[in-house]
């Protein structure tokens, strides 16, 4: 299994899909080279979604640029604004209050829950099992209501600002009580779902052994996030981040690297997120949530990596006169594209979409810096 090397000489049929295709939710172009319905080589081309967010950010005041990073992705918007603020704080040497750090982690873990549920729902929809998909969408509504309660909006919450979190996102007793009830409900429903999901023989036969990414290849392709943990490597950046030090959680891994492992690693990781949220609610310190007495000065390039629902997110800033002089963003799907292409190889062409979905792609946020060469 370690070397799924295609025999390029025998390829006779090319199957193009995209950029807008019924099977794909997001616009991207996929070329499959097929021999006897078995995919021999796959090629993903992105770039149709490029909007040039970095270019708009350059020259803006850093507070405005932070708010703009949220518009990069509608699924992991909180991760972007958190990492953007974190980069700015690292550059300017701002120490945020402890309560703000706890609220940021609660938001991030809620977002991880909703992203993982969306992944499970999307995976079940691609498997043409709409009942499971609807069930997970219903479960996700609980999380979305909690996010809307804290952030004020269902998708882009604008929780973090430079120096803490927005005062309107502060948690009072009523909100904490609703969070507790919501976490109990999510845990119960998810346990029921996983029990039902794993006991479905038809579904299990459809996802076991499909789209295998071997451990060696995953390391070679620099896969990040849950897709890496699904191949059996216990690597999670949360264990190294200082924000997550007060919390006790396990790194979930699955052995096989196929679609089943990918689905299960995300489902089981949701329980760890629930655990972190419960700890955060229990131990949340009192005090201010934001500080405003920081100074602006010119900085060199500062970068920051965090673990987001889909992998590792990278932001880097350089500031000048309180404005952004330089900005680079790399989203987790960028490093997982190689795995998506590799997973397709050796499987039936009907499973190709499933193999791509198993790596949790988000092409709208992946279309970042593109160098256009005009001749």
């Amino acid at each position: 299994m370690d070397d799924k090397i295609p025999n390029v000489n025998v390829i006779e049929t090319e199957e193009p899909m995209g950029t807008v295709h019924p099977a794909a939710l997001e616009p991207y172009r996929l070329r499959l080279f097929v021999e006897d319905e078995i995919v021999q080589e796959a090629e993903i081309t992105i770039g149709v979604n490029h909007r040039g967010v970095e270019r708009i950010m350059e020259g803006l005041p850093v507070e405005k640029a932070n708010a703009l990073t949220e518009k990069i992705c509608g699924i992991c918007s909180n991760s972007h604004i958190w990492n953007s603020c974190r980069t700015g704080e690292l550059a300017l040497g701002i120490e945020i209050p402890e309560r703000a750090s706890y609220i940021r982690i609660i938001m991030e873990e809620l977002e991880r829950l909703h992203s993982h549920f969306l992944y499970l729902a999307h995976g079940c929809e691609v498997l043409s099992h709409e009942t499971f998909s609807m069930r997970i969408f219903y479960l996700r509504e609980t999380v979305m209501e909690l996010l809307a309660m804290i952030g004020g909006n269902r998708v882009q919450y604008g929780c973090s600002v430079l120096g803490g979190v927005r005062p309107r996102c502060d948690l009072d007793d009523n909100r904490i009580e609703r969070l507790k009830i919501g976490m109990d409900k999510v845990e119960k429903d998810l346990t029921d779902f996983i029990k039902r999901f794993t006991s479905d023989d038809i579904l299990m036969s459809r996802i076991t052994g499909i789209g295998i990414i071997p451990q060696k290849q995953a390391l070679k392709l620099a896969v990040t996030g849950p897709s890496l943990r699904a191949t059996g490597i216990a690597k999670d950046l949360r264990t190294e981040m200082k924000e997550y030090e007060p919390f006790d959680f396990n790194v979930v891994t699955q052995p096989d690297g196929d679609v089943k492992s990918n689905l299960m690693v995300r489902a089981l990781e949701s329980f760890e997120s629930i655990k972190i949220i419960r700890q955060a609610i229990k131990n949340i310190p009192e005090g201010e949530v934001t500080i405003t007495d920081y100074e602006m000065f010119n900085t060199d390039i500062v970068d920051s990596y965090i673990e987001v629902p889909r992998g590792i997110l990278y932001h880097s800033y350089a500031l000048e006169d309180g404005r952004v002089r330089h900005c680079i963003i790399r989203t987790p799907s960028m490093s997982n594209i190689g795995a998506m292409q590799y997973a397709c190889i050796g499987d039936q062409i009907t499973d190709a979409q499933l193999c791509i979905v198993q790596c949790d792609p988000c092409f709208t946020c992946t279309d970042r810096a593109i160098e256009i060469i005009r001749r």
Partner: protein, 148 residues
């Protein structure tokens, strides 16, 4: 009510096309059709990904340069009668991506959706709420059912 309108009112298909937004509106629209909480299927509105089957086209995103042609082709592929719903502030006015620094227009963005194809209903919001999507889609259903 003729036979045509009668049958049409019972199987309305909604197609969603992404033209380079941030995915937030798209998830909310899929959510409003598939999720049991909002459930557009109670109004006989079903989600499809096939333009030949669709009656209503829901467009999100600020139409990037490379997405303009696919959008026009999809609009042409939908049989008459067809209606278009533009959802989200990006589709209505270009959103935050429209201009770089004040009023310098961005080269990547081809502008709001109504510059490219005719739009029948506009749903504001960043990101749109599923309730708004439902009311936007349902408000244009009589137009679709009554048309010859």
């Amino acid at each position: 009510m003729g036979v045509k309108s009668f049958s049409r009112a019972r199987a309305i298909h909604l197609m969603l096309v992404y033209t380079g937004g941030c995915n937030g509106c798209d998830i909310e629209i899929v959510n409003s059709v598939l999720s049991p909480k909002f459930d557009a299927e109670q109004y006989k509105v079903f989600l499809t990904w096939n333009p030949r089957e669709a009656d209503i086209l829901v467009v999100t995103g600020p139409v990037t340069t490379l997405n303009r042609k696919p959008l026009e082709k999809i609009y042409e592929a939908i049989p008459e009668p067809k209606l278009v719903v533009a959802a989200g502030s990006c589709a209505l006015m270009g959103g935050v991506y429209k201009n770089i620094h004040g009023d310098i227009p961005s080269e990547e963005i081809e502008g709001p959706v109504d510059k490219i194809i005719p739009v029948d209903a506009k749903v504001p919001g960043c990101a749109v709420r599923p309730q708004d999507v439902l009311s936007g889609v349902i408000s244009i259903l009589p137009k679709l059912i009554k048309s010859k």
